[in-house]
């Protein structure tokens, strides 16, 4: 197992239940930062992070531009911004054009995190009805990180995990419960 320093999760609004289940299962003293880029309504700024916080022992926040990355925090990409991870381990936000009709774009978040964390990143693609994330997960693989997709048989809409599987080699195809076990395991590594 690589020495994983950060986790990036991508999915659509439809993966909300899976995400809350994952967050509800992680302990309060979880050590790694977890980045989440989920497709969401661009004009609804509030509500999402609050809904996730209710279920999570870990703090869940939407970062401000140039916030430093802290361990043990879950970071949700804010509505209508791309969320980039800079090499100096800070966030940068961007209002550049949507990619794959999406802002935040999962590809861009994964791509920048892969560049910043190289082999120390685990990338996870959940259920979704869009190809966004496939190229991003390939970037994780190309940089030596670990690639995981939610089992398309379990995913509500499997376009997102299936597109990723078609584009790059996937280390693990996991059910939600297996994703949770994996996250706990790398935390104790």
């Amino acid at each position: 197992m690589n020495d994983i320093k950060a986790v990036m999760i991508g999915g659509s609004a439809g993966s909300f239940q899976v995400v809350t289940k994952i967050l509800a299962s992680l302990p309060k003293d979880y050590k790694l930062p977890i980045f989440m880029c989920l497709h969401r309504l661009k004009h609804v700024r509030s509500g999402f992070v609050e809904a996730l916080s209710i279920k999570s022992e870990m703090p869940v926040i939407e970062p401000f531009d140039k916030d430093p990355i802290r361990p043990g925090v879950i970071y949700l990409a804010p509505a209508n911004y791309h969320m980039y991870i800079e090499a100096d381990k800070r966030f940068s936000l961007s209002t550049e054009e949507p990619v794959n009709h999406s802002r935040p774009s999962i590809d861009l978040s994964f791509y920048t995190a892969a560049y910043a964390y190289k082999s120390k990143l685990a990338g996870i693609i959940l259920s979704g009805a869009n190809r966004d994330g496939a190229k991003g997960l390939k970037a994780v693989k190309d940089n030596g990180g670990i690639t995981i997709v939610q089992d398309p048989k379990e995913a509500q809409v499997d376009t997102m995990p299936s597109s990723a599987m078609a584009l790059t080699s996937i280390d693990y195809v996991y059910s939600t419960d297996q994703i949770i076990s994996f996250l706990k395991k790398i935390n104790n590594a």
Binding site: K66, P78, E86, T95
Partner: protein, 274 residues
Amino acid sequence: MIEEIGIIEVRKIVSTLLERYEIDLQDYSMTSLKRRFILSMLENKVKNVDELVNKIISNPQFFEKFMFDISINDTEMFRDPSLWRVIRNEIIPKVEAQLTFKIWMPDCGSGEELYSLLIILKEEGILDKVKVYASNLSRKKIEFIKEGVYEIKRDDVNSANYERAKCNNDFSEYYTLVNNRMKMDTSLVDNVEFIHTNSIFKKSPEGVKLIIFRNHLIYLNKTLQNKVIEHLQSILLTGGFLIIGVKELLNTIDAERKFKVINDSERVYQKNLY
């Protein structure tokens, strides 16, 4: 196809712009800057950074196109409708008592925020008593905004935002359809003073009552952000307002002393009296 350029190559482009055109991008956020360079290379079919640098140095027309490509577009009108409601209902009543006043957009992007502002001013009946200044690093972007032609595919977003901003009319009153694109009512920009500059610190207007600078700090690193905020503060009149993007912060000790928060969620600040 170029998908990645290294940090050394980014620096090479940056130093070329600095030496040849005195455009200083040294303290810009690395990820977005690199991405703009790569997108421009793809758009203009430039094969590598050496070719790009040569074209920037030797071809002024290419340079203008390059600046157009790397400057950031706004992408929608009335982004954050709740902010535009605050501008109309809370900011304008506080500043319009004056006979005339100045508003400055230190980077007017691709013009969507500028047109949004002008529509609000027109609907409030004060377009004539406001002097609006709009700066841009790209000469071509200014031409683009004066032309006022935007993709129709964004009309849904623009109209929905306009309605959420609870404006008075119908957004379609402000444009006509030309070749399936939106041609804005460019009489709106008739009295705007556009400023082409190679630096936000140069050619700034004086005695400004309201600065709208949303989602541009995010393209700068922390050091340059602080310098820019200091500069904007010096341009603002005492009691004047500064509006930044909803995910941007004025959180240095100096800025917290010089500004007070008027609206936290919409990032509206007022310059203190002392």
